[in-house]
Symmetry: C2
Subunit: 198 residues, 2 copies
DNA sequence: CATGAAAGTGAACACGTGTACACTTTAGAG
DNA sequence: CTCTAAAGTGTACACGTGTTCACTTTCATG
């Protein structure tokens, strides 16, 4: 698995590297691969599963919903960015395969992200500031937040590890999230369907 | 080029298909490929270039900045969604290669998106509603908007063409964009650095 | 109608690929 | 110490790959 991650990080993507190269990188003969996985696909799916199992762990450990809303944005962004940096190869793999992987892999990633989005919606629902928001709108908002965070991690992974440019990226994401939450204050979940601003 | 697009749409991604397969799909012998492109890379870059040339055309033709801000969101979303559907294969290619392509391809796509973001920032600057926003913040906002629209197109491409599920996707993106613009109303570009909402 | 460039052809090359099979080594539990 | 399952090995096969080269066909232009 480590060998696969290293190769994917140094090449275009997963489908561009072969079973034989992975085996070579792992210091093992090609046929030994089959002792561990049925398929390259199976390897990929395992990597995805591992990534998100670990991410879910982090997110539930942080128990964001127990914190005060004030300052939550900055804290969350930092937590997440830190975690992405610490698991660079794993996330790089997921980002690359999200749209270019096998159907099975794409679906797995998609479903995992959906889970995170739903969890966020449930967390947000606990705050008074969101009490006027319908369940449906909560998920729409969570979706926007999650997408913004995903974009942040894609960018962190794009700059090289010791560039220190990350701070600018985090600041931007933070601003964007704050902007979103500002909108929430004016949002009405069952408004007359007329535009309020645009 | 058409052959390559068709294959990429039916397979995982560009690096997973070979010169020989593209030639076969085009009804031509492998060596004939070299009469048109030096490289597979060159083909990919050309496809990207074409996609964005055409997209820029559409966006400038629409001259969004000449329209009233009210209703702009819905109109833009519809325009864009329509265009994505009409150029399904092309966009599918770009979405897949955005993170999993060659360095050259990834950079090309990244730069093109940056151009669109900057153009949007310039357009927004013309509206009175954004007069209190600093240039820097305008780009941050445009970035968020562009990312939201990109996410919309990724989703449109993920459901099959005649599913009619698109309306729900567009509605969600529309809501998210309106939420963002609501936030803009309360945004202060040089505030005391204290959080206003979170 | 001639001509020259653009497009397409077919054979050949050296090499990388996934997987099958029978075999050997490793290492931990009884 | 023994034995068994897991991990690793080496050989072999049929096939797909990018690229080369000299050759033929197509076809618009003068």
């Amino acid at each position: 698995m480590q060998a696969a991650l290293e190769l994917v990080a140094s090449e275009a993507n997963f489908s561009a590297i072969s079973l034989r190269r992975i085996a070579r990188q792992a210091g093992v003969v090609p046929t030994a691969f089959y002792r561990h996985f049925e398929d390259l696909d199976a390897l990929g799916l395992t990597l995805i599963e591992d990534t998100f199992r670990s991410l879910r762990q982090i997110l539930s450990d942080a128990s964001l919903s127990a914190l005060p809303l004030k300052g939550l944005v900055r804290y969350s962004v930092e937590l997440f960015a830190h975690y992405v940096r610490d698991n660079r190869l794993l996330f790089q793999f997921v980002v690359k395969e999200r749209f270019s992987g096998t159907v099975a892999m794409r679906e797995a990633i998609h479903n995992e992200i959906l889970l995170v989005t739903n969890a966020l919606a449930a967390d947000l629902a606990r705050f008074d500031e969101f009490s006027h928001i319908s369940q449906d709108d909560l998920r729409t908002i969570s979706d926007l937040v999650v997408n913004t965070v995903i974009t942040l991690s894609e960018r962190i992974l794009d700059v090289d590890p010791d560039n220190a440019e990350d701070d600018a990226l985090m600041l931007r994401a933070e601003k964007q999230l704050r902007l979103i939450f500002m909108g929430v204050g004016r949002w009405e979940s069952r408004p007359a369907d007329t535009d309020t601003t645009a």
